[in-house]
């Protein structure tokens, strides 16, 4: 695919009307509209979140407004830029799982991680003539269910990042946005050379802060939070309890690769989703 010589990242529309082909493909058959949302952040930030009792909307350079980002169900990492470097979030991830009602009116819903898209993570596979705004879905949970139903067939296959094998069967060649999206999703499939679960993780953005109490159901944190009662761990775990947040731990080790953390966290999340009837 010839990408020309422009700077990395999916192009943005500048005043022209987006061609939102994916919206027409929605098939919500049987998929719940109340799927949980996942927010991942480095442990240092998580400490602040728990202390302030809310996930604060921060200024987003891509959209120019304050936003909090979630992925629907999928615990995929979102790096600060598209470089292939290991970052704090990869090495010290902390996961919050929220109810869908935490973001009652999403600011936007995209079928993948817009941050990754803008930073060029999907450049190898994306159609260079399709702009970011073209991929945008309806900003509501019906659109989430519709996207999952159409692209994945079930919540379980969405969680695994496995799109329907026959997804392109009824998509004509001129439907370039849809085809480009399917190409991008290959990155999230288990056989990809550079698996990146963000490539088909549905992104839900909120313009407002999200309070922990009543919204966050689960936290996945390093096992080290269980111990060292003389430090602020006790306080931290007490706060989680006060906010009615259930927790699970993963095995943080300094010599574990980010991929391994990601797999382990995905397994923990999967088990919790199953226990709670989401999978």
């Amino acid at each position: 695919m010839n990408r020309g010589t422009h700077s990395p990242g999916i192009n943005r529309r500048r005043g022209t009307v987006p061609d939102r082909q994916l919206r027409k493909r929605a098939q919500p058959t049987g998929v719940s509209e109340a799927l949980p949302l996942v927010h991942i952040t480095p442990v240092g930030v998580a400490n602040e979140i728990v202390k302030s009792r809310k996930i604060e909307a921060r200024h987003c350079k891509v959209f120019g407004v304050n936003l909090v980002y979630f992925f629907v169900m999928r615990p995929a990492y979102r790096m600060r830029n598209g470089e292939k470097k290991s970052h704090q979030i990869n090495r010290f991830p902390f996961v919050f799982v929220a109810d869908a009602s935490a973001v009652e009116a999403p600011y936007h819903v995209y079928p993948f991680d817009t941050g990754g898209a803008v930073n060029g993570v999907f450049d190898e596979l994306a159609d260079p003539y399709v702009c970011l705004e073209d991929y945008e879905l309806e900003p509501n949970y019906s659109a989430v269910a519709g996207q999952i139903g159409w692209a994945f067939g079930s919540v379980a296959t969405y969680f695994d990042g496995e799109v329907r094998k026959d997804i392109l069967q009824e998509v004509p060649r001129h439907e370039t946005v849809t085809r480009s999206f399917v190409d991008i999703t290959r990155l999230a499939r288990s056989g990809s050379n550079q698996p990146d679960k963000r490539a088909s993780a549905i992104e839900v953005a909120s313009r407002h802060d999200v309070n922990l109490k009543g919204n966050i159901r689960l936290a996945i944190l390093p096992k080290q939070y269980l111990e060292d009662p003389s430090s602020n761990n006790v306080d931290f775990m007490e706060r989680l309890k006060e906010e009615d947040i259930e927790w699970k731990v993963y095995n943080w080790q300094p010599n574990t690769t980010p991929d391994e953390f990601q797999d382990e966290i995905a397994q923990i999340a999967r088990a919790w989703f199953k226990e709670n009837g989401f999978l």
Binding site: V43, G44, K84, K85, S86, H87, Q88, R91, F92, G153, S154, A156, T157, F159, D160, E162, V163, K165, D166, I167, L168, Q169, V182, R189, S190, G191, S192, P222, K223, Q224, Y225, L226, E227, D228, P229, S230, S231, N233, M237, K248, V249, Y250, N251, W252, Q253, P254, N255, T256, T257, P258, D259, E260, D263, E264, Q267, I268, R270, A271, K274, L279
Partner: protein, 919 residues
């Protein structure tokens, strides 16, 4: 992960703390105040004993720079370096170095951060890591409750350590990086509190088998269990998983379908109950398929587990599936399955509330004549299944909804025709899958089951397969004799199927699909009327065993009336046979289908009867042969024992001999040649004679011919120092294929074997699984093979461990398996054994726990006087009989029994002692 190519050496220059105490992320750079930071990549994720395989760039605003005197150079290939923080102090180095540096803080760290200290200990002090497992478990229990502690133990501790172990083996075997990474697909099940089993995806099992690593993995899991003080099933089971990623999404790809319809060939196994779940773990793709003459048929099955932590895919491509789902997540999608099997525990089937899946299954059965719905009772370990045997109204109401009930009890029949090395659970799993395969169309069995004649019959379905065809006793071309007989279905071979109330008798052939061998199988299946005849079954079994030992002429077998009060102690009184072995035999033999309890044995003994379960071959043979004077009450080998507790005082008492993979072994001549030509004083000092047998005990000439072993880790240490003599030793390793592992497989065993006992103690070895106990003395320059257990102490070691009370205990707690030899175990045999107060156990900080004579003056005098009178012989032969009997008398007296106490009484007393000590 993107490794920075060309960078092979850096220094630990900084770190990022996770918390202010504990491990931090080591950050590497070319020197102080760098522009670019790196993290190291470890050979095995999370293994603090692993090595550095590369560096990757890293960005963080939280990197703290280390003082220059703590900065350490590190190259690719070096051991992993840790940075450990504690109250402002920073420790950098190998896990062992960090462990030693914080030795004065061990208690403090254990109190505040036991999980972190445990991570260190699992590499630096593996032998004693179990203590920290207990501390950590109690720590979490106290703060967050026992459920959280159990979850931590299963998911964070056992799973991760098992994963590290399997990955170490995979890396050593040279497996591809993706395969090593994908081992995180292992399944871990807690089958009981503190008991775990590990499952591998089928691709991993195949690769491990191909690389010859299965045994190492299984041995490693046993060692891991011992290290973590939990029980890990040594047998790795496999599950099959679909790799959907192999199939590319392409524009023109058509929807994958099964050859002729969505449900063709698909099998659903619904699992309900604890025991059923244990069996379901062993379900794998079929190893044979029946050939009904209609072409190739479906062979490439995908096994998918839809419950637990795993989910299946909606579409398995062109392959038919065997889906396994737990009852609680029973999906409303069974219309896709041609055969549905309900694998269920009696407790669930006969519970007060009827299972919610039965009606949907019944509906499925009646919806379409093409579907077959089978009931497969999970087989209780200690007795018959009610679902297979009773014929009451409740049973009828519960099983009416199924086409038939599969006789899973064939799995433990002595006439089992399948793979004899399979464990009981695997056999039942094979039966479940085999029964389903036999009911796939165009099977005549499916036709029969769906016929109107059979629809309302309370039938039972049995089958047997074998790779060889036998003649039956009538000379016909039938299948092997008795292959269909079980505790629940009597299938006497000399009678026709019609006589046996069989509705259908079908002989078939099939093809094996096993990866190692392709061939033909022969099989026979019957659908028969329910109604067990255990007496005929057991009678045939006894007759056959008698003819096998060629003493049929001297004994007369006849059914005998069983004294009525014995029945009160039988759980299944209709499943027993009383036999009188000839007119002069002073006792009756009660053959049961259940494992007898101690109460049953005692009451039977009072009535002059001996009891043995029909599967207890050894005991029945012993009775039939009159091999020893049969003691009444008799203690059989298969027993229903109450729960036995591990005793903390016994920890460290017994140690297994060395793992052969941890040493270099040389013949005596080879060793002498190596020593003369290039021998190195340090390494020669490490050499030990290798004791592989107790037979050379009396043959001193053979001492000079014993092989010699050296610790492999020590050899590598010398190689690292540039010692060429050490390098030569590598040529004596049997398998130099792939990468050699530098780490020890069982370091704690190795340490004990190489340690020198103190002057006041001797070292003894006990042969694994051998009864009467076979014991020998170990010379200071000898180390024993893995089949032995090392026990250290004074003369009390041979005195106690050759005594009658230990013999009774060892026999009753011996692990028995249909697939392995019976074995003792460190935990099951030695750590549970209540040591009488006549003896003292002394914990040692460095070495193993030791056994000494107690300070009770009289007993000590007696035993020492025996030793003084020409020494104590380890062999309980005729010459020593009076001494041994005297010792037994002293020991039995010490636990409140008399010399004429029966084995049953001894066991009863030992169990009481075990429970008292565990409190």
């Amino acid at each position: 992960m993107t490794l920075s190519e060309g960078i092979t050496e850096l220094s630990v220059v900084g770190y990022v703390p996770l918390k202010d105490r504990g491990f931090a992320l080591p950050c590497f750079a070319s020197g102080p105040r760098p522009n670019t930071w790196y993290t190291a990549v470890c050979s095995v994720d999370g293994d603090h004993g692993g090595s550095i395989v590369g560096f990757e760039t890293f960005e963080s605003e939280d990197i703290c720079e280390l003082p220059t005197d703590l900065q350490v150079r590190a190259s690719v290939g070096d051991r992993w370096l840790d940075v450990f923080l504690w109250d402002g102090a920073i420790f950098v180095g190998l896990a062992e170095a960090v462990w030693n540096s914080v030795s004065s803080l061990h208690d403090t760290i254990a109190e505040a951060a036991p999980l972190t200290l445990l991570d260190l200990a699992l590499v630096a002090d593996r032998e004693n890591a179990w203590k920290l497992v207990d501390v950590a478990f109690e720590f979490i229990s106290a703060r967050f409750g026992e459920e959280k502690a159990s979850t931590w133990r299963r998911d964070t501790l056992v799973r991760q350590q098992a994963l590290i172990l399997l990955r170490q083996i995979a890396v050593d075997a040279g497996m591809a990086a993706e395969e090593v990474s994908d081992l995180n697909q292992i399944e871990i099940n807690e089958t009981d509190a503190g008991q775990f089993s590990i499952g591998l995806p089928d691709w991993a099992t195949s690769t491990f088998e191909k690389e010859g690593c299965i045994e190492r993995a299984e041995a490693g899991l046993v060692e891991l269990g011992e290290t973590l003080q939990v029980k890990i099933d040594h047998e790795l089971h496999q599950y099959k998983e679909i790799d959907i990623s192999e199939e590319e999404v392409t524009e023109d790809q058509s929807v994958a379908e099964s050859p002729s319809g969505q449900d063709e060939g698909n099998i659903l196994i619904v699992v309900a109950g604890k025991r059923a779940k244990e069996i379901a773990r062993h379900i794998s793709a079929p190893e044979w398929v029946p050939d009904w003459g209609g072409g190739e048929g479906l062979t490439d099955y995908a096994v998918r587990r839809l419950g637990g932590n795993r989910i299946g895919f909606e579409d398995a491509g062109a392959r038919p599936v065997i889906d396994i789902v737990e009852e609680e997540s029973f999906p409303d999608l069974f219309v896709r399955y041609e055969v549905v099997v309900y694998l269920v525990d009696d407790a669930v089937l006969f519970g007060g509330k009827m299972s919610s899946v039965i009606f949907p299954l019944a509906q499925h059965r009646s919806d379409d004549g093409n579907y077959v719905v089978l009931l497969a009772p999970s087989l209780p370990v200690e007795g018959p299944s009610r679902a297979l045997n009773l014929d009451d109204k409740l049973l009828f109401r519960r099983i009416y909804h199924f086409h038939t009930t599969v006789d899973t009890s064939i799995a433990r029949s002595p006439f089992w025709s399948g793979n004899p090395r399979r464990s009981l659970d695997r056999r039942v799993a094979d039966i479940v899958v085999g029964a389903a395969m036999l009911c796939l169309r165009p099977s005549p069995i499916a036709e029969e089951l769906s016929s109107k004649d059979l629809m309302d019959q309370n039938s039972i379905f049995s089958f047997a397969v074998s790779q060889s065809l036998h003649r039956n006793s009538r000379g016909g071309s039938g299948f092997g004799e008795m292959a269909l007989a079980s505790e629940s279905v009597w299938a006497e071979p000399d009678y026709t199927a019609t006589y046996r109330r069989a509705f259908a008798h079908i002989e078939f052939r099939g093809r094996t699909l096993h990866r190692r061998s392709m061939g033909e199988v022969f099989g026979v299946a019957e659908i028969s009327q329910r109604g067990p005849d255990f007496q005929s079954f057991a009678y045939a079994l006894v007759e056959r065993m008698l003819s096998g030992v060629r003493i049929a002429t001297t004994f007369e077998v006849s059914a005998e009336v069983i004294p009525p009060d014995i029945f009160d102690y039988l759980d299944c009184p209709e499943f027993c046979l009383g036999v009188k072995l000839g007119p002069h035999c002073p006792y009756g033999l009660l053959v049961t289908a259940e494992a007898p309890s101690l109460d049953l044995l005692r009451v039977a003994g009072l009535n002059n009867w001996v009891v043995a379960r029909y599967t207890d071959n050894e005991t029945i043979q012993e009775i039939l042969l009159g091999e020893r004077n049969i003691e009444v009450p008799l203690l059989p080998r298969e027993l229903k024992l109450p729960e036995v507790c591990r005793l903390s005082a016994n920890r460290g008492l017994a140690t297994r001999g060395i793992d052969p993979r941890d040493v270099v072994r040389l013949g005596r001549e080879e060793f002498e040649r190596w020593r003369n030509e290039s021998g190195d004083a340090d390494l020669v000092g490490c050499a030990r004679r290798y004791k592989t047998s107790l037979r050379d005990e009396a043959d001193t000439s053979s001492l000079s011919e014993q092989d010699v072993v050296l610790p492999l880790a020590e050899v590598f240490n010398e190689i690292d120092k540039g010692n060429s003599a050490a390098k030569e030793l590598l040529s004596f390793l049997p398998d130099r294929k792939g990468r050699l592992s530098r780490g020890s497989k069982r370091p704690s065993d190795l340490r004990v074997a190489w340690s020198v006992p103190s002057r006041s103690t001797e070292r003894y070895i006990i042969d694994d699984g051998v009864l009467p106990v076979s014991i020998g003395e170990l010379e200071p320059d000898e180390v024993p093979a893995q089949r032995f257990f090392i026990i250290e102490g004074d003369v009390s070691v041979p005195v106690l461990f050759t005594s009658r009370i230990f013999s009774v205990w060892a026999r009753s707690t011996l692990s028995r398996s249909t697939s392995w030899m019976s074995r003792f175990s460190v935990r099951g045999t030695f750590e549970t054994f209540p040591i009488p107060d006549l003896f003292d156990l002394r914990r040692s900080v460095e070495g193993p726990t030791q056994l000494f004579l107690g300070q009770q003056g009289h007993v000590k005098k007696v035993l020492l006087s025996i030793q003084g009178r020409g020494g104590f012989s380890f062999i309980r032969d005729g010459d020593n009989a009076y001494i041994n009997e005297y010792i037994d008398e002293v020991i039995l007296d010490g636990i409140g029994l008399k010399i004429d106490s029966s084995d049953v009484e001894i066991l009863q007393r030992l169990l009481e002692m075990n429970h008292l000590r565990a409190k």
